[in-house]
């Protein structure tokens, strides 16, 4: 642990351990949780954010996948992020628990990457699961929830904390809508009804590999101007 000048002895050292629950020193990174069902495009979105933001910002990624190296391999192979900026966490078959009820291992991974790279942006990808996921506010500052249209247009209507309470709902794979007969208008209406003022964006990561609307939202959270064209 070396985030700060190390003048202080004793319990001050421990205070860092309390994490985001209030007692720790202010940190400069924005921690963003990315949840959503398996295959909805979470890793593709992480890659998109790294592509779009990686030139201006220092980014690190924590994954919670079963195949600990798969996501890392994917991000590295695409030349998107170097391996030492990616950490994998095992969840003991409980992906929700690891980001919500017992965040110890994820917090440890996040803090280690923060200490090493002093990033602007930390992305925590949850292991895929159902619609009830929420990240602990002790682990992340805000959370995205990624669903896709391939499961039909009734997913937003089903609700669940992931759909209703996430800070940004991302409806991905809009390119598949005609193929599965999903009505994006219905999804937008249902999502708005379930979420009130919380924003919803639609993405097609095949056509827009920089995930424009999500990138703008993240820039906004980082307090950066969003009017310029994403590179």
């Amino acid at each position: 642990m070396h985030r700060e000048g190390d003048g202080s002895e004793g319990l001050d050292r421990f205070s860092l351990l309390v994490g985001a629950s209030g007692r720790s020193a202010p940190r400069r990174s924005l921690r963003v949780g990315i949840g959503g069902p398996v295959g909805s495009g979470k890793t593709a979105l992480v890659a998109a954010l790294c592509r779009a933001l990686g030139r201006d910002l220092s980014i690190v990624v924590v994954t919670n996948d079963i195949y600990t190296t798969e996501d890392a391999d994917f991000l590295r192979a695409a030349g998107i992020l170097s391996t030492e900026r990616i950490a994998a966490v095992q969840t003991g078959c409980c992906p929700h628990t690891a980001v919500r009820d017992d965040i110890a291992a994820n917090l440890e991974a996040v803090e280690a990457l923060e200490a090493q790279h002093v990033p602007d942006l930390v992305l925590v990808e949850s292991g895929g699961d159902n619609l009830t996921l929420t990240f602990s506010r002790g682990l992340v500052d805000c959370q995205l929830f990624v669903i896709d249209v391939s499961g039909g247009d009734k997913v937003p209507r089903k609700g669940g904390p992931g759909v209703t309470a996430s800070d940004l709902l991302v409806v991905n794979k809009t390119d598949l809508a005609p193929l599965v007969g999903a009505d994006l208008g219905v999804m937008a209406r249902d999502a708005a009804r379930m979420r009130g003022d919380r924003p919803v964006v639609f993405t097609d990561l095949r056509a827009d590999p920089q995930a424009g609307p999500v990138t703008r939202w993240v820039r906004n959270r980082l307090g950066q101007p969003t009017d310029s064209m994403e590179r």
Binding site: G10, L11, C93
Partner: protein
């Protein structure tokens, strides 16, 4: 051996016996994931065998360490810095597998987060920031007002309940049957904790018992090397 059990159980003490304690335990299988992968744990009888073995080795060891750490935490005057360092070294020396040591420290650090949040002014600084799990557990039980026996009991009990829960998740065992199995082991857990309490009442940490389980070391090392894993250890 005289009785060391006491009836002073506080609500704080129960925190440490609760599997929902947010100290990272849910992601550690205590070797069971690899034992399942190797076919060594495949049904209830083989699970029972595994748990008995684990109680007699890793369980007995962590129970004695926890009891010792609990006693130290309640010592008056408080132990010097170096006493904690010495204990730490003795615990490391009792774990021949590097993977076991690192799993122990990962869980110890996670538990330390909880202790610091609960008792910000009382956690001994000599613990450092990556204590072994059994040490942090013993200190925590001490801070919660528990006795060395209570610390040993919590450690011994966790040494079987946590791999049992992991096995349940991996194999889809009937949860009620798994609980009945642990209830069946209860007398052995009690005895283990009592023996550990006595064994921990030594002059120094170098005299703590070291009933290592070779097979657990092998499983831990195998696990650390394996590509696909659901649990951290």
């Amino acid at each position: 051996m005289g009785t060391v059990a006491d009836s002073r159980v506080t609500a704080n003490l129960l925190l440490f016996a609760d599997s929902r304690l947010p100290a990272g335990g849910h992601a550690h299988s205590g070797g069971v994931e690899r034992a399942v992968a190797a076919g060594a744990v495949r049904d209830m009888p083989t699970l029972e065998g595994f748990l008995r073995g684990r109680l007699a080795t890793a369980g007995a060891q962590s129970a004695a360490i926890a009891a010792y750490a609990c006693r130290s935490a309640n010592d008056d005057p408080a132990p010097a810095f170096t006493c904690w360092h010495l204990l730490d070294a003795e615990v490391s020396a009792r774990m021949s597998s590097p993977a076991q040591r690192s799993a122990s420290r990962a869980q110890g650090r996670a538990l330390l987060r909880v202790l610091v949040a609960c008792w910000p002014d009382s956690v001994p600084v000599g613990l450092g920031d990556r204590p072994h799990h059994a040490v942090a557990l013993g200190v925590g039980v001490g801070l919660a007002g528990g006795s060395p026996y209570a610390a040993a009991l919590v450690a011994a009990s966790a040494s079987v309940s946590s791999p049992a829960s992991a096995a349940l998740r991996l194999m889809g065992f009937n949860p009620v049957e798994v609980t009945a199995l642990i209830a069946d082991l209860a007398e052995d857990i009690d005895r283990c904790a009592e023996a550990a309490t006595h064994a921990s009442d030594t002059g120094g940490p170098e005299l703590l018992p070291s009933p290592t389980g070779l097979m657990l070391d092998v499983l831990a090392e195998d696990h650390a090397r394996s590509e696909v894993k659901l649990f951290a250890s």
